[in-house]
C-alpha cells in the first residue's frame, strides 16, 4: 500500500497535476502608507524541482501604488526587471518554494489616490529553449537549424507556444535588439523585415506590426522612418545584385543588421506574444489568480462571466448603468470595459455610491407582498403604511423574497415594532441565489434557494442618522434592556443640541461602539427630549465592555439609566441608486454568424428526441436532457413549457423558414444567469425559475458591504445541447465548482468531402458524407459563396429514406443538410448534396469561390458529431 502511495505521489509530482495559484481575500489598505502586508498568494501543484516563470503585477493601480518583495532568495529577475525596489510588475524565475517565500513577503506601498488595487500573480513552467522579454511581454524561441528567409517565415507561422501562434521575430526597439543579441549567440539571424515588393522600401514582415514601413531607401540611415527602429550596419542595406531582400540581425556577430538574399540558410527566431496582464489568459498552461484590494474603503464589483470555452470572451465588453427610483431612464457610466480572457471585468469605478432621497411611490393599502412587481421595477422605492405583526411567511434576512409578508418582514428587519402602525419604505431589488433564514425581533424567517425578485426596507426619505461620539456634554441618555422594554432599549436625545430637525426623521443611530442600526421613534416632550426604541439590549454598556466606558455614566447604579458624555452629529440618510450591468453586443453580422453556429441541427434533433420520449402529454422525460437549463434553452417561445411548438420553431430556424429571433441582438439571444441559480435549475424545477433573457443584470448595493462578486453563467436561447453554453457542474448537484469543457460532447468523427466545378455558365458544389460507424440522423453545412459572382439556384438532395432536407440561401452562404427528426432511419454514405449556382459573369475556374464554413452533425443517440472534411 505504501509503495502504491509512493508511486502515486511520484506520478502526481512528475505530471504536475493540480497546478494553481491561490489568492488572499480582499482587504483595504491605508492610504499613503508604505510596506503594508499584501501576502496570501501561494503557488501549489507544480513540481518542486521545476523552474517556474512567475509574474506579480498591479493591474491599473491608483497613482502612487507600488509593491516590493521583502525576500527574493533563489529568484532571478527576467530580462527587463530587477528584483529590488518598488515596482508595478516583476517577472522572475525560481522554484515554487522560493517564489512562495517571496510572495509571503509581498508589501504594498499606497499613494493618496483612493481606488482598487488589483494584484495578479501568474506562473507557468519555464520551458527550456524559450526566452521571456519582460519589456514587451514576448517569448522568443531561437532556431539554430539554418533555412531560407521564406522558409523561416513560413515555419514560424506553424509554430505554437502555450497556445500562441508564432511569427518570425520582429525587432522594433533598441531594447529588443539588445535582448536578442544578449540571448542568442548565433550570427546572421533572419528577422521579419523585407523589401521584396519595392527595392529599398523595407517593411516589417510579420507579427502585429506587419506592414509598417521602416525605411524608404537602401543605405544605413537613408530614408529611415522617424519613430521606427532601424539598426543597419554601415553601408547596409545595399540591395546587392537586386536580390538581397531579407534582413538579418547579429550580422557577422555584431548587433547590427544586414540584407541578404533568400539563398542563405540562416538561423532564425520565432516570437510569441503578448503576456502582460497575467489575467488575460491568452497563453495556455499559465496558472493565475488575482485579488482586488482597495486603497481606502471603496466598493469593489467584479463580474465573472462563465462562457463556454468555444466563445471568444474578449469580444465582449461590459458597462454599468445606474438610475434613481423616480427615473426609469438608465444612465451610462464611463464606457464599456473589455472582458479579460478569463471572462472577468472589474467595474468598481463605475459604481455611484451617492445616495438618493425620495418620497417613494405609494402602494395600495392592504398590499401584503411585492409579487406584483417584476425586474423592470428593480430600484424603485415604494411606501406603505402598515401595522407590524409577528405572523406570516417570510424568506430571507434584510433582503426578502418578493412573496414575503410585508408587515412581518418589517418587524424582522427592525423597521417597525409588532403592533406599531407607521409608514415604511420598500425597495425592489434583484433576486438572490440564496436567502438566509434568521430570528430577529421575535420573528423567524426561513431560508430559500434562488428566487427571481426581492425587496428590502430602506430608510425614510430625508431621514437622518444620529451618531453619538465620545466627548462632550450629556445630551443623550439610555435605558438599556429594561425589563419593560422586552429586550430592547430606550434612547433619549436632547433635540436642542441637534437643532431644528424633526425628531421623527431620525431613523438610525450609532451609539459609540454599542449599536449601529435603525431605531423607532416613540415620542418627544416639550423640553426637547426625543425618545426612540433601540432593538438591542446594549450589553456593551451594561456590562462595561465598551471601549468608551469612561464616557458612559451609570446614573443611579442600577444598570438601567446611563448618560453619555458625548456629542451628537446628524447625517442625512438615503438609499443607493439602482445599478445594472450590460454586455455590449457583437455587431449584428458577427452575432448572426456566431448564433447560427450555436443553434444547429444537433440541437433540433435533441429537442425532438426529448419531446418524443416525453410522450404526447409529457413536457419532459429527462431521458435526453441532462440539465434543467436545456429545457430553458429548448423553450424557445419562453412560455414556460417545452413542447412541440418549440421543436417546430427550432426546425423552422434550421430549415430557413423563419429565424428563431426577430433580430440578432444579445438581448434576443443570450442568457445571463447567476451561477448558483444556473447550477440549481433542475429538470423538474426549471419552470419555477424566471427567464433570464437578455444582456443585462441588475444588482443592488447594501450598507456596510464593499465587496461584490457577481458570477454569471452564460447560455443561449436554442442551445439545447449546451454546445456553446456554460456547463452546470452536475445535474442536481449544487456544490461542485469544477466545470468541464463544452467541447467534450464532440468526440466522434464522421467524414465529409466537398468538390466544386464550373461547367459552362453553371457552377456546382457537391458535398458527400461518410458516416463511418455512426448512425447519423442530422447534418448541417454552412456553404459560403461569393454572391457578387454567383447566383444561387437550388440544392438537390440524394439521401436514403425520407429525411427532411433543407437548403436555404442566407445571402452569403447556403445553410443546408438533412434531419431525421424521429431518428427512425439514418443517413448513409450515399448521401450527396448538389448545390447549383449560375455565374454572373464568365468564369474559367472557381478555386476558393465556394467554401465550407461551420458544420454540425448528430447521431441517433442525440450526441453531437464532429465532421472531418477530407
Amino acid at each position: 500500500m505504501k509503495k502504491l502511495l509512493l508511486v502515486l505521489f511520484l506520478l502526481i509530482s512528475f505530471l504536475g497535476f493540480g497546478q494553481s495559484v491561490t489568492a488572499p481575500d480582499p482587504k483595504s489598505f491605508t492610504v499613503n502608507t508604505s510596506g503594508q502586508d499584501a501576502s496570501g498568494f501561494t503557488l501549489s501543484g507544480f513540481s518542486a524541482t521545476s523552474t517556474l516563470l512567475a509574474s506579480i503585477s498591479l493591474v491599473n493601480p491608483p497613482s502612487g501604488t507600488t509593491f516590493y518583495l521583502g525576500t527574493t532568495t533563489g529568484l532571478i529577475a527576467a530580462s527587463g526587471f530587477t528584483l529590488s525596489g518598488n515596482k508595478t510588475r516583476l517577472v522572475v524565475t525560481g522554484t515554487m518554494a522560493s517564489i512562495n517565500t517571496a510572495l509571503a513577503s509581498l508589501k504594498i506601498n499606497t499613494g493618496t489616490i483612493i481606488g482598487d488595487i488589483n494584484i495578479s500573480v501568474a506562473a507557468t513552467v519555464n520551458q527550456p529553449g524559450f526566452y521571456f522579454n519582460g519589456v514587451n511581454g514576448h517569448f522568443y524561441k531561437p532556431v539554430t537549424t539554418g533555412t531560407t528567409y521564406t522558409g523561416a517565415r513560413a515555419a514560424s507561422l506553424l509554430s505554437t507556444f502555450k497556445g500562441q501562434t508564432g511569427y518570425l521575430v520582429t525587432i522594433t526597439s533598441a531594447s529588443e535588439n539588445a535582448f536578442i543579441f544578449a540571448n542568442v549567440p548565433q550570427a546572421n539571424i533572419w528577422f521579419a523585415a523585407t523589401d521584396e515588393v519595392i527595392d529599398g522600401k523595407w517593411v516589417i514582415d510579420a507579427g502585429p506590426e506587419k506592414g509598417t514601413v521602416m525605411k524608404t531607401q537602401n543605405g544605413q540611415n537613408a530614408g529611415n522612418i522617424t519613430g521606427v527602429y532601424n539598426n543597419w550596419a554601415g553601408g547596409e542595406p545595399n540591395g546587392a545584385n537586386h536580390s538581397e531582400d531579407y534582413a538579418v540581425t547579429n550580422w557577422n556577430g555584431q548587433s547590427t543588421w544586414n540584407d541578404l538574399s533568400n539563398n542563405w540558410n540562416n538561423p532564425y527566431i520565432i516570437e510569441y506574444g503578448t503576456w502582460t496582464n497575467p489575467d488575460d489568459a491568452t497563453f495556455t498552461e499559465f496558472y493565475s489568480n488575482s485579488v482586488t484590494h482597495s486603497n481606502g474603503e471603496t466598493i469593489k464589483t467584479l463580474f465573472g462571466f462563465k462562457f463556454n470555452s468555444s466563445i471568444d470572451k474578449t469580444k465582449f465588453l461590459a458597462q454599468v448603468f445606474k438610475r434613481t427610483d423616480s427615473n426609469s431612464n438608465w444612465t451610462a457610466s464611463d464606457g464599456y470595459k473589455p472582458l479579460s480572457g478569463l471572462g472577468k471585468v472589474y467595474l468598481s469605478n463605475q459604481i455611484d455610491t451617492t445616495k438618493i432621497y425620495t418620497t417613494g411611490i405609494p402602494l395600495s393599502a392592504g398590499t401584503s407582498d411585492m409579487q406584483q412587481f417584476s425586474e423592470s421595477d428593480i430600484g424603485k422605492i415604494y411606501r406603505i403604511t402598515i401595522t407590524g405583526t409577528v405572523g406570516g411567511a417570510i424568506w430571507g434576512t434584510d433582503i426578502y423574497t418578493s412573496d414575503s409578508y410585508i408587515p412581518c418582514a418589517a418587524v424582522h428587519a427592525g423597521f417597525i415594532a409588532n403592533g406599531e402602525t407607521k409608514e415604511v419604505y420598500i425597495k425592489v431589488v434583484q433576486g438572490l441565489n440564496e436567502y438566509i433564514g434568521s430570528t430577529r425581533n421575535g420573528v423567524s424567517t426561513s431560508g430559500y434557494g434562488g428566487w427571481g425578485l426581492s425587496y428590502q426596507f430602506v430608510s425614510a426619505p430625508m431621514s437622518y442618522k444620529a451618531t453619538i461620539s465620545p466627548g462632550g456634554v450629556e445630551w443623550s441618555y439610555t435605558n438599556p434592556n429594561a425589563s419593560w422594554l422586552n429586550g430592547n432599549s430606550r434612547l433619549l436625545i436632547d433635540m436642542r443640541q441637534v437643532g431644528s430637525i424633526d425628531p421623527t426623521k431620525i431613523s438610525n443611530v450609532k451609539i459609540l461602539d454599542a449599536y449601529d442600526g435603525p431605531v423607532t421613534y416613540t415620542s418627544h416632550d416639550n423640553n426637547g427630549w426625543a425618545i426612540y426604541t433601540v432593538p438591542s439590549p446594549l450589553t456593551k454598556i451594561t456590562n462595561g465592555t465598551s471601549a468608551y466606558n469612561q464616557y458612559i455614566r451609570n446614573v443611579n447604579g442600577w444598570n438601567t439609566d446611563y448618560a453619555f458624555q458625548c456629542g451628537i452629529g446628524l447625517t442625512q440618510q438615503g438609499a443607493f441608486k439602482q445599478h445594472r450591468m450590460e454586455l455590449q453586443e457583437y455587431n449584428s453580422t458577427e452575432l448572426k454568424t456566431l448564433y447560427n453556429s450555436i443553434v444547429t441541427v444537433s440541437d433540433v434533433y435533441l429537442a425532438f428526441k426529448e419531446l418524443a420520449n416525453g410522450g404526447i402529454f409529457g413536457n419532459q422525460s429527462g431521458n435526453e436532457f441532462t440539465y434543467g437549463i436545456q429545457y430553458k434553452n429548448a423553450d424557445v417561445d419562453d412560455n414556460g413549457v417545452f413542447n412541440e411548438a418549440d421543436c417546430f420553431k427550432l426546425l423552422q430556424n434550421l430549415t430557413g423558414v423563419q429565424d428563431l429571433v426577430s433580430s440578432y441582438t444579445l438581448d434576443n439571444t443570450i442568457r445571463l444567469i447567476p451561477d448558483s441559480i444556473y447550477n440549481k435549475i433542475g429538470k423538474s424545477t426549471w419552470q419555477s425559475f424566471q427567464n433570464f433573457a437578455g444582456k443585462t443584470y441588475n444588482f443592488s448595493l447594501l450598507d456596510n458591504v464593499i465587496t461584490y462578486n457577481y458570477d454569471l453563467a452564460v447560455s443561449w436561447k436554442g442551445d439545447v445541447n449546451l454546445s456553446h453554453s456554460a456547463t452546470p457542474p452536475s445535474n442536481n448537484i449544487t456544490t461542485m465548482s469544477v466545470r468541464t469543457s463544452m467541447s467534450s460532447p464532440i468526440s466522434n468523427d464522421i467524414n465529409a468531402s466537398i468538390m466544386t466545378e464550373v461547367i459552362g455558365d453553371s457552377v456546382y458544389a457537391y458535398i458527400t458524407i461518410d458516416p463511418l460507424q455512426q448512425n447519423v440522423v442530422g447534418t448541417q453545412f454552412q456553404l459560403n459563396y461569393d454572391n457578387s459572382m454567383l447566383k444561387f439556384n437550388n440544392v438537390s438532395f440524394k439521401t436514403k429514406g425520407s429525411p427532411m432536407n433543407y437548403g436555404t440561401d442566407k445571402g452569403s452562404y447556403i445553410n443546408l443538410g438533412s434531419l431525421v427528426s424521429d431518428g427512425t432511419t439514418s443517413l448513409d454514405k450515399t448521401t450527396e448534396y448538389k448545390i447549383s449556382f449560375t455565374a454572373k459573369s464568365k468564369l474559367e475556374n472557381i478555386f476558393g469561390l465556394i467554401s465550407i464554413g461551420t458544420t454540425d452533425a448528430v447521431n441517433q443517440g442525440g450526441s453531437q458529431l464532429k465532421i472531418k472534411l477530407n
Binding site: A154, H242, D245, N784, F847, N870
Partner: protein, 117 residues
C-alpha cells in the same frame, strides 16, 4: 552622326542596364509556377500559374492549416504547360491555408502554403 548614334546607343544600353530589376512577386505573375514556392501571398482574384506535364482532370484543395479541415476544392481540366487559374479568397474562413494539387489518380503533385492578404 555616327558618333551621335554610338552615344545614343551607349545611353540606351546604360539606361537599360540601370533599370531596376522587377522584384520577386509570387502572385499575379505570369511566369512563376505556384507550387515552386513554399509560400505564396494571395488576394482575391489573383492569378496563379500551375505547370502541368500532361492533359487531364486535376483537383486543387484548400486546407485550413489550423483546423486541419478542407475548406474548398475545385476540379478542373488541365493542359500541358502553364495553366493560369484565378484564386478567390472572399469566402474563406481563415487567412492561413495550404493548397494541394492532385491528378486524376489522386496522386499529390504539388503543395504550397498561402497567406491571404
Amino acid at each position: 552622326m555616327k558618333r551621335i548614334k554610338i552615344i545614343l546607343l551607349c545611353c540606351m544600353v546604360f539606361i537599360i542596364s540601370c533599370k531596376k530589376t522587377v522584384p520577386f512577386t509570387p502572385v499575379s505573375s505570369t511566369s512563376v509556377e505556384f507550387f515552386s514556392l513554399p509560400e505564396n501571398k494571395v488576394k482575391n482574384g489573383d492569378v496563379i500559374n500551375i505547370n502541368l506535364t500532361t492533359v487531364g482532370t486535376y483537383t486543387l484543395t484548400m486546407i485550413d492549416t489550423v483546423q486541419n479541415q478542407v475548406v474548398s476544392r475545385e476540379r478542373f481540366t488541365g493542359k500541358v504547360g502553364l495553366n493560369p487559374l484565378k484564386i478567390f479568397t472572399n469566402t474563406l474562413p481563415t487567412k492561413y491555408l495550404s493548397v494541394v494539387l492532385k491528378d486524376q489518380n489522386n496522386n499529390e503533385i504539388g503543395k504550397t502554403r498561402i497567406i491571404i492578404n
